[in-house]
Every structure is written in structure tokens, then in C-alpha cells.
């Protein structure tokens, strides 16, 4: 680690690592990424790692589509010598109410406009795809083969690997604790490993991003909400696709390793709570065994908790601090940051290096909460 850098990225999750990578790829030479624990210690290492293009807004669908295209070749893209274990077994989205079913038809129209190959299924057709699905209350579903999941540890390591190769310094167990400013602009970062000069800071600290931004006088309307997940013992392949329902708020997938990863999403009071609860364990199993009774036979081996960084419209907030030039925050991914991070990182890097982009980064500014130009998304958990 040197005394100073052009760019300091805070946060070693997928967003920070992808952003550092994309900046280096655009020729930015002098980059440091700091992480208070180790890479993937935050939400990225705790996530369901699902990727889907079946969104209801054109913005999200197109970002997810372009992100998937990158994930499809992430090893080559970053030079990473391991597989990132992308599996495109599709997502089966299940509608349990008429309202939801109507919304699905509208979502399909949006997706088709972008060339996404999703389609509607009757309950009987759904049963063919997932024979174990309990059809009680099911109105119908939609499916897209290109959806799936990837290994979040390896995806993050892939970006970090590629970034290091291009000269990015990565310092783990290094926590940002404060900032120094000069003439209304960022001058450096105080860390647990000493002071580092910085011409630009990119705050990718997820649920901790608001409190860091606050240190330079910036309020970001993003809160931290606990979400839990669990994993079962591995078994022979039973289900190839992710099964997910918004109205019953569950998702479940079988990983290439054979284990099932799943979670449910009751709303909780904001907190940085990282503890697992037995209430979740039992409730999750009740919800999931109702939807897929075959799961009754599987044994849970591990559960964990992580945080969603929730913004008011469940979409990211990307902004420069009003009172501190060159201090940027990239957060508020609201539970779907993994699958959009490849494209979001490109947008941020393009913006910071003055390159053109088909996406307008200003749409993600927090100003939208005042002007009402919200990034509304009907298809979120």
C-alpha cells in the first residue's frame, strides 16, 4: 500500500471489486481497494447469487441482461483461472394471485422488447418443469432459460484477480474510519492502517455506505435490513431452475454442488443484525415445504444472515456527495446487487473516465426521491 492513490475504492464486495476492475480496464492506473475484513465478507458472501433477466422495468431488465452477458464469460473477461460456476438453469417465477399474474404479462412485454426469451407457462406446464411444485393456489408462471446463478465468491475473486493483474492494490483488514477534505473536495481516507491520500473515493460499503457518506456531510436514504438464508445437504439433481415467488416471498435453487439454497423475505425493522434466528429457520421451512413438499426430506446444514441495503424505490443510489467533490457512493442495491453489479460497475467507470454510456448515471441520483422520478420496479422480492 502506498501513501496515496488516484482512486480509493471502499468495500471488497462484488460492487467494489467490479468497479475497481472496470476503472483499471479503462486505463486508470493508480487504484487502491480497501476492505475492512476479507473479500466477500459482506452481503456478497451471504447472497443467494441468483441472476435473472425477468424484470418488470426496462432499466432493470436491460442492466440484468447486459450483466448476464458478462457473467457468461467472466473467466475470460477477467483472466480468472477458476470457474465462476455460472449455471443457467432458468428462473421459474410463480404467480399466486391474479394481480401478480396480470403483472407478469406486462413484465413479459417489457422483456420481449429487449429480446429476452422469457415465456408464460400454465400450471400444468410448470409441473412439467418442476414436478415437485405444489400447484395449490398457483395461477401460472414465467420462465427464462438464461436466468440462473453463479458462485458469488468466485465472481468477486475473478474481478479482484483481474484488477490486481492490472496493478490495482487490494488491502484487506483495512477499515475506512474517516475522511479528510480540502477546498470542498476529498483529500484522503483515514483507515485502521493509517492515512491514505486520495483524489477520488468510491464508497461501495453497501449497508455501511450511508454512515461513511455521512462523514463527508452526505445523507443517503438507504437502510439496512436483515435477510436470512439457509443451505441443505447436497442431494442428486432434483430441480434445474430457480423457483421464486414475489407474493409468497420465497426463492429456492439447487446449486451445481447439489445443495439447496433458499430464503424467505419477511420485512424487518432496520438493523445491522448479522445473527441467524430459529424463527427464520422454522418459518422458511414451513413456507418452502408448502411450495415444494419434496424438500421435507432434506436436512438443513447451515443458515446465515446478511443485509439488504434498501433504498426507497428498491434501486441503487449512485451519487457524488454534494459537499465533497470526488466522493462517490454506489449503494442501495436492495437485495439484487449481485446480478446487476457487472453492468453498474461499467456505468460508474465510464462516467468517472468521461466515456459515453447508453445508461444515464444521473437517473440513479438521490435527487429522484425529491423530483419523484423514481426507478419503479414491479418485480422485486
Amino acid at each position: 500500500m502506498k501513501k496515496g492513490y488516484d482512486v480509493v475504492v471502499i468495500g471488497g464486495g462484488i460492487v467494489g471489486c467490479a468497479t475497481a476492475f472496470e476503472l483499471a480496464k479503462r486505463g486508470v492506473k493508480d487504484i487502491l481497494l480497501i476492505e475492512k475484513r476479507f473479500l466477500t465478507a459482506g452481503a456478497t458472501g451471504r447472497c443467494g447469487a441468483g441472476i435473472r433477466q425477468q424484470w418488470g422495468s426496462e432499466l432493470n431488465a436491460s442492466i440484468a441482461l447486459e450483466s448476464t452477458n458478462i457473467l457468461e464469460n467472466l473467466e475470460e473477461y477477467t483472466g480468472y483461472p477458476h470457474s465462476v460456476e455460472l449455471h443457467q438453469g432458468g428462473y421459474l417465477l410463480v404467480a399466486y394471485t391474479d394481480k401478480e399474474w396480470d403483472q407478469f404479462q406486462k413484465n413479459l412485454e417489457v422483456q420481449h422488447r429487449l429480446g429476452i426469451d422469457s415465456y408464460a407457462l400454465t400450471p400444468e406446464e410448470m409441473k412439467k418443469k418442476v414436478p415437485y411444485l405444489n400447484l395449490d393456489g398457483v395461477k401460472g408462471g414465467t420462465f427464462n432459460q438464461k436466468d440462473g446463478h453463479a458462485n458469488p465468491f468466485h465472481c468477486t475473486q475473478a474481478y479482484a484477480y483481474g484488477a490486481r493483474k492490472m496493478g490495482v492494490d487490494i488491502e484487506t483488514f483495512c477499515e475506512a474510519t474517516g475522511f479528510r477534505m480540502k477546498n470542498g473536495a476529498i483529500a484522503g481516507v483515514e483507515t485502521t492502517k493509517g492515512y491514505i491520500e486520495a483524489k477520488t473515493v468510491i464508497n461501495c460499503a453497501n449497508t455501511r455506505a450511508p454512515e461513511l457518506a455521512k462523514m463527508v456531510g452526505e445523507d443517503i436514504p438507504v437502510i439496512s435490513e436483515r435477510h436470512q438464508a439457509l443451505v441443505t445437504e447436497p442431494v442428486a439433481p432434483l430441480i434445474d431452475c430457480m423457483v421464486m415467488a414475489f407474493s409468497r416471498s420465497y426463492y429456492v435453487q439447487q446449486t451445481p454442488h447439489g445443495s439447496f439454497v433458499m430464503g424467505i423475505g419477511p420485512k424487518e425493522t432496520p438493523s445491522h443484525n448479522f445473527k441467524s434466528s430459529w424463527q427464520f429457520l422454522e418459518h422458511n421451512c414451513a413456507v418452502m415445504c408448502e411450495a415444494l413438499p419434496i424438500l421435507r426430506n432434506l436436512r438443513v446444514v447451515r443458515q446465515w444472515a446478511g443485509q439488504y441495503d434498501m433504498s426507497p424505490d428498491a434501486n441503487p443510489v449512485i451519487d457524488e456527495a454534494a459537499e465533497c467533490k470526488n466522493f462517490y457512493s454506489v449503494c442501495g442495491f436492495s437485495g439484487h446487487g449481485f446480478m446487476v453489479s457487472p453492468r453498474v460497475a461499467i456505468m460508474v467507470a465510464n462516467y468517472l473516465t468521461g466515456q459515453e454510456d447508453t445508461l444515464d448515471i444521473h437517473r440513479f441520483s438521490k435527487k429522484r426521491f425529491e423530483t419523484g422520478e423514481l426507478l419503479l420496479e414491479p418485480a422485486v422480492v
Partner: protein, 114 residues
């Protein structure tokens, strides 16, 4: 010969793979667990995390006590989803097992065991 030693029996991870991780620059049990799956099987690392800690201690010249332990995550023993589902239904008679409409459990106060 020594390198064919199995360190994590549940996931079939050899000492060689652990040493490779250390050579690749990984410094903690948690990182090695995440990239190799060592300690993610049914026994949840009861044996292998100490063995991995030993390797880290040796490689980085730090005493065993200073090697960061990974978090022990519940449940302590594998338990069937059916049994857990029944436990929920017993405590929530007449309620539907739907999570969207569910009342949020009170967050266990304090928390933040990050």
C-alpha cells in the same frame, strides 16, 4: 504423499488444495471455506477448521490463537426441513405458511455479530 492428506472429509478437500489457497494469498479460514467449500459439509468444519488454522498458523508464522476462527453457524446438527416446518405449523395454528404477509419477528435485540 503428505499432500494427499484429506483435510475436510465432508467435501473431500486435500491439504494440497489448502496449501494452494495459502499460496494464492488467502489469509483466513473464512476465505478458504468460501473458495474451496472446506467446512461447509454436514459436520460444518468440526475437524477441518482446526487443521486449516494449523496450516495458516504455520504459513503466516502466527500463533494458533491468533488465527481468526470462522463463525459457527446454526443448526448444530443437520435437521430435516419437514421437522422444522412442522414445528412452525404447530406454533402458528390456523396460519398459512406464507412469508410475504407474515408479521416480522422482533429482531433479536443487539445483534450485529459481524
Amino acid at each position: 504423499m503428505a499432500d494427499k492428506v484429506i483435510i475436510c472429509r465432508c467435501e473431500d478437500i486435500t491439504r494440497e488444495m489448502i496449501l494452494q489457497c495459502i499460496e494464492d494469498g488467502y489469509q483466513t479460514i473464512d476465505e478458504i471455506k468460501r473458495v474451496t467449500r472446506a467446512g461447509m459439509g454436514p459436520c460444518q468444519g468440526r475437524t477441518c477448521r482446526l487443521l486449516i488454522a494449523q496450516e495458516l498458523s504455520r504459513a503466516y508464522h502466527v500463533p494458533m490463537e491468533e488465527v481468526l476462527m470462522s463463525t459457527f453457524r446454526p443448526p448444530t446438527k443437520p435437521i430435516s426441513m419437514g421437522a422444522l416446518a412442522d414445528a412452525w405449523l404447530e406454533n402458528h395454528e390456523g396460519e398459512e405458511a406464507v412469508s410475504g404477509q407474515a408479521v416480522a419477528p422482533k429482531p433479536e435485540e443487539g445483534g450485529a455479530a459481524e
